[in-house]
Point group: C2
Chain length 204, copies 2
């Protein structure tokens, strides 16, 4: 058992985060508990509350890391091909692959409800906003004469859509199996949406 001052506050935080992530990866976020994390790091449960406010706070920090990893994947594939449609299709492919490769951590980002009184901090919301901002940048070459506000809306509609396919597939609510089918659906949504978005006929 760990003794006092065996680890600095920073070390304790890092150990706690890593242990909690491992539990989520292996057992899903329903399987996460303060007592399990404490046992995994060799401290008693009270110790967790010295380094995190509560479980919500711990989950928030795990989710932040997950969003950072997703963001890294999405920025790796820069739009060097030059084709805007290809770039957005790539982002979609990356999103689905990320969710499929790490379903439990990805699901915790979007399925965990923070308790009502907890205010999600701005730096966290920024990590979500950043993803939509990338889609916006990808859309810009396709939206020459449109006001920025329309591009923002389009990014939200399109990426909300990609997200929906992703989450329905992972929860077996789409009647399909296999990551390839999910990729097909996503590519179909993106390419058809973009065809509509770039066509010259009016919506009405």
């Amino acid at each position: 058992m760990a003794r006092r001052s065996d680890h600095s506050r920073e070390e304790l935080r890092e150990m706690t985060l890593t242990a909690a992530e491992n539990i989520v990866v292996e057992q899903g976020y329903e399987g996460l508990s303060a007592r399990k994390v404490a046992t995994a790091i060799g401290y008693t449960v009270g110790t967790l509350y010295l380094v995190f406010e509560n479980l919500d706070d711990l989950i928030l920090h795990i989710n932040a890391r997950t969003l950072d990893r997703l963001h890294a994947r999405m920025t790796e594939s820069q739009a060097n091909s030059g084709d805007a449609v290809d770039y957005l299709l790539q982002l979609g492919e990356i999103y689905i692959r990320f969710a499929n490769d790490d379903p439990h951590r990805w699901a915790m980002v979007f399925e965990h409800r923070f308790s009502e009184d907890r205010v999600v901090p701005a730096w966290y919301q920024e990590k979500i906003a950043r993803m939509f901002a990338m889609v916006e940048v990808g859309l810009e070459p396709l939206a020459k004469n449109r006001p920025q506000q329309e591009v923002t809306q389009a990014a939200r509609a399109l990426w909300g859509g990609v997200h929906g396919i992703c989450i329905l597939a992972l929860t077996d609510n789409l009647g399909i199996v296999g990551v390839d089918s999910v990729q097909d659906l996503t590519q179909s949504l993106i390419s058809n949406y973009l065809k509509g978005f770039t066509s010259h006929s009016s919506v009405q």
Copy 2:
């Protein structure tokens, strides 16, 4: 306190379902517990396990009712206008309105993870499939020369998309407020997707 044989099995089931639904509506599905339901119907907690297998089973039946109400709303607005695009826009509008009017019960359908060993029965999966089938029917007039399989895929992509906007909006992950904005995004997704879907140019 209720005494033995005060209620038939059927009455008990109905009381339990209704009490549980009220708790979910008021407190969200995180607030649902077997003990709260038991107290609400005036029985002890053990009684719940005489009429439902466990909490998952109870939730499954509440979700079934929610899906039935959603289906009723979606069938009320029959495609009597004759315009296929309008019809699908209407379905989207109904979906968003339903989720917004009854967020806690709607969220439980799509956010509750059933425990791994529990097999979701076919009659339940059918209620999900039915929703996608309606979208398929709506798409058919727009897909004259396409094989059925493509229409099925399109329905999943499009409705997965609508669902994604809906769930991100309800969980405050879209950076928007107000049901009108969500409706705008949904209409934008559907109309652009359909423009792409019905255009004659090839995807590639």
